[in-house]
């Protein structure tokens, strides 16, 4: 092969470039410590790098979550453990006080300690962790108890059958419940009086409305310009509204109309106040190519006058079925009068479609004397909370009280109504402590002795809770170990995938350097001499 000077120069340049590229890559790998700089360096490995990095980041979050969960559980555990100690001391004290040889002045002295124990129990119930009250369910911003030992929070949300649960995620799809229910720990006394027995309680779901529909063939090659295509919509509450369709341009005899034109004409039909038909009705062509105008909510939808070319069938909708909560027991004026004070300051919790409102009845005297009084007060408070007519109570003397959501024709959604009454304001544990404290003050031996049976129940209850928390703490500790192991594994795999093997990189770099140096020295020889140098 014939070789020219320029060929040699070019070849040398190319080879130098290749060696330099290789050195560049290796130096980059050394400087960053990473084998992969860009996804194209190794697509498979880089997707692994992404996966492992995400896994490690998720694991470190799970680790933080478990640490927090452990702290939370530990503080709960310490409060519960403290309660066990307090109750045991209370039991000893009671046994001591129940000894018949004690004089009332002796038991009065003991009552001081009992009072102290009760205050400590209350203060344990108000225990907080980083500013959050741990036994108050979701109302973490309020302590569980007031100073006098009555509940400070709305306990209807703490009721035992649906306790609020706070969960931390400690693994993919693995949630850890860290909450403890203050109501379970301290017990509660159900109040049964005229109010709670005679006012309805429960959850009822109504049925949704079905929509009224106009449905008919709308031929695209007809002339509608002389037709009155206007649509009337009647929501059953407000006066009917006419939506005017601009039919002047809808002559399909010359050029056939398009579906788009027809749909737009209807969608843009106007009530004269700037409201479009499309805001209250869905307008579309159905599968059999018929024009459908469907009311979005309950209510009638009709043509103002029969059109010549558009003769749809109208289907009338059905309104929502209202949700009614009622009680099978009847109430009479006499019963209301007998339990007059039961109605003072009574609270109910009413929820319609997720809108939850707490309602307090008869907050100011006079209390009711007839069923009619109760109904009037309820409706007044319901109207305040939900707007007029949305929740209605009915009932007469000798019949049952029922509470219903009004029809909601405008939105057509199925109503859900839930009515609860708040049936407890006091913890049974604190209440029992108060009773025994009172008994000790006056030396009432019989009451003191009867407390022994009650405190054992409370003690067992608290011990069970302590065991449950202990078990959760144990489980958390296992999770902590597992996360630590996984982190090590994933970190190693990430390192395998992404980190450069430094010794190997240095060796290849050195190798490239040698090649580079020899190429340079060869180059220096190759380029220099030509025949010119030897001609004289």
């Amino acid at each position: 092969m014939r070789v020219t000077n320029n060929m040699m120069v070019d070849q040398l340049r190319r080879n130098l470039l290749l060696t330099q590229q290789s050195m560049y890559t290796k130096q980059d790998q050394l400087a960053t410590g990473k084998r992969i700089q860009r996804a194209s360096d190794d697509p498979i490995l880089s997707s692994k790098v992404l996966k492992y990095s995400s896994d490690i980041s998720a694991l470190s979050q799970y680790e933080r979550n478990t640490t927090d969960a452990l702290s939370w559980l530990e503080i709960t555990e310490s409060a519960v453990y403290d309660n066990v100690k307090l109750l045991q001391r209370a039991r000893e004290l009671t046994v001591q006080a129940a000894n018949g040889t004690n004089t009332p002045s002796d038991t009065k002295k003991m009552s001081l300690e009992m009072d102290g124990l009760m205050k400590q129990l209350i203060s344990n119930g108000n225990m907080n962790f980083a500013g959050r009250y741990i036994f108050s369910g979701f109302e973490t911003n309020k302590p569980l108890f007031k100073d006098d030992g009555s509940f400070n929070i709305d306990i209807s949300q703490l009721t035992i059958d649906k306790p609020p649960v706070t969960e931390y995620e400690v693994g993919i799809g693995e949630n850890m419940n860290i909450s403890s229910n203050g109501l379970e720990l301290y017990g509660f006394n159900l109040i049964t009086d005229t109010f709670t027995n005679k006012v309805p309680v429960g959850v009822v779901k109504g049925a949704p409305a079905t929509q009224s529909v106009l449905n008919g063939a709308f031929a695209l090659n007809q002339n509608y310009s002389a037709d009155n295509l206007n649509v009337v919509r009647d929501d059953g509450v407000n006066p009917p509204v006419t939506f005017t369709v601009n039919s002047a341009l809808m002559n399909g005899t010359i050029y056939p109309l398009t579906k788009e034109t027809v749909l737009n004409a209807y969608r843009n039909a106007d009530d004269g106040l700037g409201n479009k038909l499309s805001s209250v009705a869905d307008i579309y062509y159905d599968a059999s190519d018929k024009l459908v105008i469907k009311n979005k909510a309950y209510g009638a939808i009709t043509l103002t006058t029969a059109a010549v070319n558009f003769t749809p069938t109208a289907t009338t909708g059905v309104n929502t079925v209202e949700a009614v909560v009622s009680t099978p027991t009847t109430i009479t004026d006499a019963e209301v009068l007998a339990g007059t004070n039961d109605f003072l300051n009574k609270e109910m919790v009413i929820t319609i479609n997720g809108n939850r409102q707490k309602i307090a009845l008869f907050t100011t005297p006079p209390p009711p004397t007839t069923v009619a009084n109760v109904i009037t007060e309820m409706n007044a408070k319901f109207d305040l909370a939900f707007g007029p007519g949305n929740v209605v109570a009915t009932g007469v003397s000798g019949g049952a009280i029922s509470i219903a959501t009004g029809n909601s024709p405008q939105n057509g959604q199925a109503p859900t109504l839930s009515v609860e009454t708040i049936r407890a304001t006091e913890s049974s544990l604190i209440n029992d402590m108060k009773v025994v404290y009172g008994a000790m003050l006056i030396g009432d031996q019989a009451t003191i002795s009867s407390f022994l049976g009650k405190i054992d129940v409370h003690l067992n209850n608290v011990l069970a809770i302590q065991t449950d928390i202990g078990a959760r703490v144990n489980r958390m500790e296992l999770v902590v170990n597992r996360i630590a192991e996984n982190t090590v594994t994933y970190t190693r795999q990430l390192s395998d995938a992404q980190d450069a093997d430094i010794s190997e990189v240095i060796m290849t770099l050195k190798n490239s350097e040698n090649v580079y140096k020899s190429a340079l020295s060869v180059g220096a020889r190759v380029i220099q001499p030509t025949l010119l140098d030897f001609l004289r």
């Binding site: 000077n5 860009r38 933080r64 979701f138 109302e139 949300q157 949704p208 030509t530 025949l531």
Partner: protein, 552 residues
């Protein structure tokens, strides 16, 4: 009998021929480093001899320089251009792919993966401390980081597409420039060669232009018997003898793909007929600018995927977030909207101009088919998600649209574009607006909704490619494979081209050593001819000055 001066003539022809050879040689050396230069040689031939009478045979009459030829292998030119068109294409493609790779910036500690990881982590913290304003502020900052991350990626992709579009214009102008120059050269060459010779240097210039053109566009070229030169490209006549057809760029009226930048160009012939690039830089540029699928996916594919990611993710986050309750006991608030809109503004925007700048299409009836009030929410959710994808798949033109839940009804709308995503104004202005509780009664301590948001990370049914993490992973490995292919092809093409160029240089390149030795050769021949001239001169001197002096 030969004339007295014929010897002088022979010596003169020798001098002239050697001198001409030396001139050509000097031309070679002068152009040793000229791009596209082909070495030339003088071909010499003996003059027609004088026939001597009888059987004496013929007598030489000197030397004639017959022609100056180029040492060139046209087959290698053909090969060179064939490989060059591929190199041009893969090189340009590699450039574009590497830019996209940089835009996505994975694997790294600053890519979207990292931003998402941090966002999920902040939501986990929020689950633990739903009422803490500090944690809420953290969530807000991390959410903003995600939106700006996605936004800057989206914007960078659009910018890249606009840049590529500009390159298309430049390349088209270049192609037109080359074809014009070639047509002009054709005129000069044709004129110069009308008398039969070869216009070597002009041809070199033309060959160089064709070489350069072959990098930009896939060409076929030929020269007919009459010496007329033609170049065809992609079905059209780029150059036909003295005339050249121009390519023009035309602004597109409507976007080809939804995620495209505005005002992109199409390339067509100036005559109006369509142009389909089949190779070279121009094809790579058009591929990068327009391809949403296929072997050579371009910017639209990645922009579209990014929008799919953004849209599905925000739909899911908004769905969960708007079902929850915030500290002000409100519900129905979106976490993400576009252009800093509030939830209400965004919903209004979607309803009035959410679908192809027109009203969103209400498809509630098709979406809720099969759901029932007696099902659990999860069962209904599953049916709804399935119906959503069915509706989009079965309606032509809606494959890249989205179904959004607005004010209790389902609408088909455009996808949320990554360039426009922002945190909703509600959350932007009020930390309390982050909905942490699933139920109103859970306020303020219930963080379950925050946890639901955080577990979107593990929802493997969110995308056809799996969870959000999986989606990014798949997208990055797609990108990696595409870029790797471009890099490999570009490298092997440049090696191949180097090889062909080497062979070409081996034949056509100027070797200084060779020229030097030739120089010595011709110099000696010249000197010898001159010496012959002197010798003849002396002979004549003898004849003229010395003869007839006998007896003087």
């Amino acid at each position: 009998m030969a004339s007295t001066f014929s010897g002088l003539n022979i010596a003169k022809s020798g001098l002239f021929a050697q001198q001409r050879a030396l001139n050509v040689l000097s031309h070679n050396i002068a152009n040793a480093n000229t791009e596209g230069y082909t070495r030339q040689r003088v071909t010499m031939e003996a003059y027609r001899p004088d026939m001597l009478p009888g059987t004496q045979g013929s007598m030489g009459t000197g030397v004639d320089t017959q022609s100056i030829i180029q040492i060139r292998d046209e087959f290698l030119d053909f090969k060179y251009r064939g490989e060059n068109v591929k190199l041009g294409e893969w090189d340009t493609r590699l450039d574009g792919m590497e830019t996209i790779e940089t835009i996505f910036g994975e694997p790294s500690d600053s890519g979207i993966r990292k931003l998402m990881d941090e966002f999920y982590a902040s939501l986990q913290e929020l689950n633990k401390n739903p009422e803490s304003l500090t944690t809420r502020a953290l969530v807000r900052q991390r959410a903003i980081a995600v939106t700006t991350g996605l936004g800057s990626m989206g914007t960078a992709l659009k910018k890249l597409q606009t840049d590529i579009n500009f390159s298309v214009e430049v390349t088209t102008t270049q192609i037109n420039g080359f074809s014009k120059q070639i047509a002009d050269l054709n005129k000069v060459i044709f004129g110069a060669e009308a008398t039969g010779g070869k216009a070597n240097d002009l041809r070199d210039q033309r060959n160089l232009l064709v070489d350069k053109l072959s990098e930009l566009i896939d060409i076929n070229y030929f020269e007919d018997d009459m010496g007329r030169f033609y170049i065809n490209a992609s079905g059209g006549a780029l150059v036909s003898h003295f005339r050249n057809d121009e390519l023009i760029t035309v602004k597109r009226d409507t976007k080809l793909h939804e995620a495209d930048a505005l005002y992109l160009n199409d390339v067509q012939w100036a005559s109006g007929s369509s142009f389909i690039a089949s190779g070279g830089q121009l094809k790579a540029l058009l591929d990068m600018q327009n391809n949403i699928e296929g072997d050579k996916k371009g910017v639209p594919f990645y922009a579209n995927k990014l929008n799919e990611f953004t849209d599905t993710l925000t739909n899911e986050f908004n769905r969960i977030h708007s079902s929850g309750f915030n500290l002000s006991a409100n519900t129905g608030i979106n976490l993400f909207t576009i252009n800093g809109m509030s939830t209400q503004e965004y919903n209004q925007f979607l309803l009035t101009e959410g679908l192809n700048s027109g009203a969103a299409l209400d498809v509630t009836d098709s979406i809720i088919v099969g759901t029932s009030p007696t099902n659990t929410n999860e069962q209904n959710d599953k049916i709804i998600v399935k119906n959503m994808s069915l509706v989009l798949k079965n309606t032509a033109g809606y494959e890249n649209k989205s179904v959004k839940f607005i004010n209790g009804r389902y609408f088909i709308t455009d996808r949320m574009d990554a360039t426009t995503i922002t945190l909703s104004k509600d959350v932007q202005t009020d930390l309390n607006a982050i909905a942490t509780a699933t139920k109103k009664m859970g306020l303020p301590g219930d963080g379950t909704n925050a946890l639901r948001l955080a577990t979107v990370r593990n929802n493997v049914e969110l995308y056809a490619w799996g969870s959000p993490d999986d989606f990014i992973k798949s997208l990055v490995s797609n990108l990696g494979v595409d870029t790797q292919e471009a890099a490999r092809m570009s490298k092997s093409q440049s090696l191949l081209l180097a090889q062909v160029e080497n062979s070409r240089q081996s034949i056509s390149g100027v070797s200084l050593d060779e020229e030097m030795s030739e120089m010595v050769k011709f110099q000696h021949a010249y000197n010898a001819s001159a010496r012959v001239m002197t010798a003849l001169d002396e002979l004549l001197d003898t004849v003229i000055s010395r003869l007839g002096l006998v007896g003087r």
